[in-house]
Symmetry: C2
Subunit: 150 residues, 2 copies
Amino acid sequence: MVEESVEEEAQFGIGQVAERTGLSVHALRFYEREGLFLNPVRRLSGGRRVYTGHDVDWLNVCIILRASGMPLPVLRRYTELVRAGVGNEPERLALMREHEARVTAQIAALTESLDLIRFKVAVYEDLRDGGESAARECHTPPTTRGTAAP
Amino acid sequence: MVEESVEEEAQFGIGQVAERTGLSVHALRFYEREGLFLNPVRRLSGGRRVYTGHDVDWLNVCIILRASGMPLPVLRRYTELVRAGVGNEPERLALMREHEARVTAQIAALTESLDLIRFKVAVYEDLRDGGESAARECHTPPTTRGTAAP
DNA sequence: GCTTGTGCTAGAGCCAGGTCTAGCTCCTAG
DNA sequence: CTAGGAGCTAGACCTGGCTCTAGCACAAGC
């Protein structure tokens, strides 16, 4: 096992990185092809990849951005900007703000959907115990405004 | 245009339904093949589909469930239960509760991701105007517990 | 010297969820 | 009669994001 040698920089094999990020080794190679690393991944003689602690940190950022629905092309663009270094912060800001907006919109949409879902849960619950719910043929909560029939 | 004839039941062509649901006509036919309608869609002589107001209501439910990430197989299962009628409400309740749990988990995950995203937005903002941010080489907010370096 | 473990590459395959096409059928209006 | 517009079917195709396979290369341990 390769663990923090002196103080220099931790190094990891692809399997170790997979373990600590939760990504598969396939996904790691795929991400590399997709240009999602800040620096070219070093290779051992023999061609094996060697990852640094920084790589793992960056991957964890990528994982969060992906989990929040950032598409790979956007993530790649962001990576390019960070890689290019100082000077493009305004563009990074714009990109992140757009992503923030998409994520908040997504949360809002989910929260709204949750209204219907909870309404249905409630209907089935009180149908189960007692059941004076008038909701037999109706699928939508009364709170859903619009599309009202005459 | 076909609009509410007597009081019987509104009827719509596929194009009209596409218009008022936002789904494409392709998607409507696809959903039908996938068994996402409560009743077999009626056909005119000539084979054209005729949808009722109930179909449109149900589609709107489907749209919300899909938007909240319910996979088609689960939505189909739910449709089957509703179609089967009275008696399986406990199973519907279970299904909806599971979905509710997935959605709240998803919201929680997005909200957590939002922490990182907002952190980055903040970093780039104060880098822009003033810029005493110490965040040059660091990608993660200090609030991210764990995986702390020595 | 052989097996086992870990890794490599190129490229094929897979899944979800639609989307699009070709070729045909109707109906209605001019 | 003819053209346009809406619709039909079966089935091919697409995008995104991985995932897997085949065939090969090392390095270490028995």
